[in-house]
């Protein structure tokens, strides 16, 4: 129930892309034609799966550590914090990550892009946020790759992130991009975000302070999930 102890989660209009964005051809037959109906948040929506702990091993945060030798490409660190829009850290929460290899090829049957697979890189990781909402992964910078959306269409280099947050309305799947990518202008997935400032929030920034000299560059990517309607009591467990 949306009482003072369990306030609902704010709807923020204009942040996400629309369902129908015709330049992204895949939306044309999958976007519903009717607008969604407003659903008041009940206990089903004020709760959500808290399944991180027990599903992640420390090694899952290093996508470069699962082959017989190092994967090819540019080793990078990606790190940041996960907060809600009121600035509260999203603690102990599962993040799932997947991406193409350095050549722009996914280790997936459907991907027929004629670029080499890397036997030392599956492109899959998992990590838990810590008690401050911080996370850190080690991976390879993914390559851009062609797709069939329009003639000579190329996706900017990106890493997929899936987050649960602490409740159903905080669930988010998004993509992290890299600064200065020359492919942004022609990518309908990136440009489906209505507000240019929203697009910028998906672009990580080079973070030399977290780089490991002679080993790996670092990129910072902070993620903000939905905040709450009103300030809840400090201790949600004080029933």
């Amino acid at each position: 129930m949306t009482d003072a102890r369990n306030p609902g989660y704010r709807r923020d209009v204009g942040v996400d892309p629309p369902y129908l964005y015709p330049d992204y051809v895949g939306t044309r037959l999958r976007a519903p034609r009717r607008p969604p109906i407003l659903l008041p948040q009940s206990l089903t929506e004020l709760t959500g799966p808290l399944l991180g702990p027990g599903r992640v091993e420390p090694a899952d945060a290093d996508l470069t550590a699962h082959g017989e030798s190092e994967p090819l490409g540019e080793r990078i660190i990606v790190h940041g914090r996960v907060l809600d829009s009121d600035g509260r850290p999203i603690r102990d929460s599962l993040m799932e990550i997947w991406q193409a290899n350095a050549s722009g090829r996914y280790a997936h049957d459907v991907d027929q892009h004629p670029a080499p697979l890397d036997p030392n890189f599956a492109g899959v990781g998992r990590v838990l946020t810590d008690s401050t909402g911080a996370y850190r992964i080690v991976t390879i910078k993914p390559g851009p790759y062609p797709w069939r959306n329009h003639p000579n269409a190329w996706r900017p280099a990106h890493i997929h992130f899936s987050l649960f947050g602490h409740a159903f309305p905080q669930r988010l799947v998004t993509q992290m991009y890299f600064p200065g990518d020359p492919l942004f202008g022609q990518d309908p997935i990136f440009n489906s975000i209505p507000d240019p400032r929203g697009r910028e929030r998906l672009i990580s920034r080079l973070d030399l302070d977290e780089a490991i000299p002679d080993v790996a560059l670092a990129f910072r990517f902070d993620i903000v999930l939905r905040g709450r309607e009103a300030t809840p009591f400090e201790d949600e467990d004080d029933d």
Partner: protein
């Protein structure tokens, strides 16, 4: 302080790399008394199946409890409540679970038993959210606030799962004449 939220992006066609779990479809273990299979297909606006989608489910247990601090007053439970299944080449998914008990709505009155269903797929720039209700709960469904908020009565039927041999069938039509009702949560 209000921070601007991070926008959503599509899972793309390769979600099967990162998201399926071996135990994902099993909200309850095989052999659990009273377990039901929720089975269905995802269909696009051309009538074609979605072979590259992910279905997630979230629900209360059979006493209306959730394993979550916001639901403490309903009592503790170890019920996972969460299911996750990628679709196959025919757009089919299957989740093994139990039927949830009614839980209170936003106004405090009991809702009909329901399961929140989330869909991720290539071509969806943001997840779709709908609700599965049980067609063999006509009295509870007739008083459910979310179902009653759908003005067109014929559309309410898109949220009713039908009995099947081993549980319930729940198809989701993303677009078209049989388009499922989706919710803004």
């Amino acid at each position: 302080m209000t921070l601007p939220r991070t926008p959503s992006q599509t899972v793309g066609p390769y979600l099967a790399l990162g998201l399926p779990w071996p135990d994902g479809p099993f909200v309850v273990a095989d052999g659990t008394p009273g377990a039901i299979w929720i089975r269905g297909r995802l269909i696009d606006g051309a009538g074609d199946p979605l072979p590259d989608a992910l279905v997630e489910t979230w629900q209360a247990d059979d006493e209306g409890r959730f394993a979550h601090p916001a639901a403490r007053r309903a009592g503790p439970t170890t019920f996972r409540g969460f299911g996750r299944c990628p679709t196959d080449a025919d757009g089919r998914y299957a989740i093994l679970t139990i039927k949830p008990a009614p839980v209170p709505g936003a106004d405090g009155r009991l809702q009909a038993p329901h399961i929140d269903v989330t869909i991720f797929a290539r071509g969806l720039l943001k997840q779709l959210v709908t609700r599965l209700y049980f067609s063999d709960e006509p009295a509870a469904n007739a008083a459910d606030p979310a179902l009653l908020s759908i003005d067109d009565r014929a559309l309410r039927a898109t949220l009713l799962a039908e009995r099947s041999a081993d549980g319930y069938r729940f198809d989701v039509h993303l677009q078209g004449d049989r388009e499922t009702v989706f919710f803004d949560v």
